[in-house]
């Protein structure tokens, strides 16, 4: 009998995994939530006439890589059972429960590669639920996928390489970038030169974006302490502390994001174990060097969904995970995985996280009245009150307060919620645990759940 292999995710990791399986004679199922492959970084324009920007305009320095990935997919598509527009919302040990085109379907598998990618990592501040405040990655999607800016005058606030890239793309598109503000010291460009040197070309691109922003006389300021976003029904400005002094920036939109977090809910439902990664300051599914999930045979994880290492590493990790799967099936590999390059990406990522860390220190001072969980409208004060009542674990706080119980399942508030709880208790963030994933991992119509009854 043919082994049924399913891949979830059509970004760089998922496509390269599919490609390697096809090269070895397999015909995997490829499920992608998006209507077209590419993931976020190599996302394609809608398939509608009239969109005109070319690869260079959309992907900049990465245009060649985007074209290569799209071409690789076109080559292998005839060998794939490709299911675009399909959301996997639950996973059993032998089948995926999916929703596509409003229809529930169960897809049996023997082996599973999850390449579910990442999303923005958020630290709230007062006013962050106002219309006009968007996730940094979302601000980039609006521009790349739709040709729209999130406002007329935009402040970029956060940390990480995407902050400078997105601000650069906005300014280049003619949008007024009011300021680029980061919590990282020295703009995150100073620390750990040795680690940065592990991928000097990528580090140089980051420096190029900052230099461009400065040459356009856009304020680029490090070591800021976010204070609040102002406005009644929409964004009117932003206040931050710079060197202890309050500074105000007029704007009608804020792009907010402090690096990325892995989308790991499906890995958890599929049976992966989790470990706290100190360098990335987040819980990650535990994998071996080849992407095999520890303690769960037949499950493989690749790309940013299994720890953030970026798009180039995701392509390598996709091929490596596919290689592990093939070897586990007893199929001889025709080529070797590129572990040397992957190790360099790993060193680079550790250096990046040190230089542009998640601002855990802001959690302690987040005002009590500030909303933490935007689905259920739960404030930092409610989480602290739960701690005062003796709750020391984030899932118990969830049960008591509804933090993370809303439609997003704690994707947005989970990390900051744990930081606020840990800061209140005076313990390290890993000791309060992590929000457990629950099916359905995305909202689905009630009819789609019908078959799930035990």
């Amino acid at each position: 009998m043919n082994t049924r292999v399913a891949i979830v995710g059509g970004g760089p990791a998922g496509i390269r995994a599919a490609e390697r399986l096809v090269e070895h004679g397999l015909s995997p199922i490829l499920l992608d939530e998006a209507p077209r492959i590419g993931g976020r970084i190599y996302q394609q324009l809608p398939e509608v006439r009239g969109f005109r920007r070319d690869g260079k305009a959309l992907y900049g320095f990465e245009a060649g890589k985007a074209e290569d990935l799209h071409a690789a997919f076109a080559r292998i598509q005839p060998q794939l059972d490709y299911r675009p527009g399909t959301t996997v919302f639950d996973i059993a040990s032998d089948r995926l429960i999916t929703l596509g085109d409003g229809r529930r379907e169960e897809i049996a598998y023997d082996r599973l590669i999850l390449a579910t990618g990442a999303m923005d990592r958020i630290m709230p501040l007062p006013g962050w639920t106002l219309p006009g405040v968007f996730a940094l990655g979302g601000a980039q999607i609006a521009l790349k996928h739709q040709g729209c800016a999130i406002g007329h005058s935009v402040v970029f606030l956060g940390s990480g390489p995407l902050l400078y890239l997105a601000a650069y793309q906005y300014a280049k598109a003619g949008v007024n970038v009011a300021a680029v503000l980061t919590t990282a010291p020295w703009l995150g460009l100073g620390a750990n030169l040795l680690g940065m040197a592990a991928q000097a070309k990528t580090a140089a691109k980051g420096a190029y974006y900052v230099a461009k922003l400065l040459s356009w006389r856009i304020p680029v300021i490090g070591s800021v302490r976010p204070a609040r976003i102002m406005g009644r029904d929409s964004v009117e400005g932003l206040e931050v502390l710079v060197d202890g002094r309050l500074r105000q920036f007029d704007c009608d939109a804020v792009a907010l994001g402090y690096g990325l977090k892995s989308e790991s809910q499906l890995a958890e439902l599929a049976g992966a174990q989790f470990v706290f990664d100190r360098a990335q300051n987040q819980w990650l599914p535990e994998i071996d060097d080849h992407g095999r999930a520890v303690g769960r045979d037949g499950l493989y994880l690749a790309g940013d969904g299994a720890g953030i290492q970026g798009a180039d590493a995701a392509e390598l990790r996709g091929r490596i995970a596919a290689g592990a799967l093939l070897q586990d099936l007893g199929i001889a590999l025709k080529d070797a995985g590129d572990f040397g390059t992957l190790k360099r990406w790993h060193r680079f990522r550790v250096a990046l996280e040190q230089a542009m860390p998640f601002p855990s220190h802001l959690a302690a001072d987040l005002p009590d009245a500030s909303i933490l969980c935007r689905c259920e409208n739960i404030t930092a004060g409610e989480v602290r009150a739960a701690a005062d009542q003796g709750l020391r674990e984030i899932n118990r706080v969830k049960a008591a307060t509804r933090l993370g119980m809303g439609r997003c399942q704690g994707r947005i508030c989970g990390i900051a919620g744990a930081e606020v709880l840990a800061a209140k208790l005076g313990v390290s963030v890993d000791s309060v645990g992590r929000l457990r994933a629950q099916p359905p991992v995305k909202p689905v119509p009630i009819e789609a759940l019908a078959g799930d009854a035990p």
Partner: protein, 94 residues
């Protein structure tokens, strides 16, 4: 109707289409998501369930679930991952 939150800076040469936004005929461009179609003409998308404060979505990538609106026949739509279509009827008020 006031100023839209979003501003078009590229891809403006697409076919114009009309859809109904809370009963009012509204113009969009073919290939717009529902979220873009609304926020290029309005300052917000919907009211939050518990506070009646305006919201406009957040992540734009189908993760935060803060941009759900409804079609006139009562189906829920995630505005950032649904494309607008000619004649579509969208309701943002309950």
């Amino acid at each position: 109707m006031g100023r839209g939150q979003f501003r078009r800076v590229a891809e403006r040469e697409r076919r114009r289409i009309a859809f109904l936004l809370d009963g009012v005929e509204t113009e969009a461009l073919e290939g717009d998501t529902v979220l873009i179609a609304i926020l290029t003409t309005r300052a917000h998308l919907r009211m939050a369930e518990f506070t009646e404060a305006p919201r406009a979505g957040f992540c734009l990538m189908g993760a935060c679930q803060d941009c759900w609106v409804a079609s006139a026949d009562g189906r829920s739509l995630r505005a950032c991952t649904t494309y607008v279509a000619e004649g579509m009827a969208i309701v943002t008020r309950r």
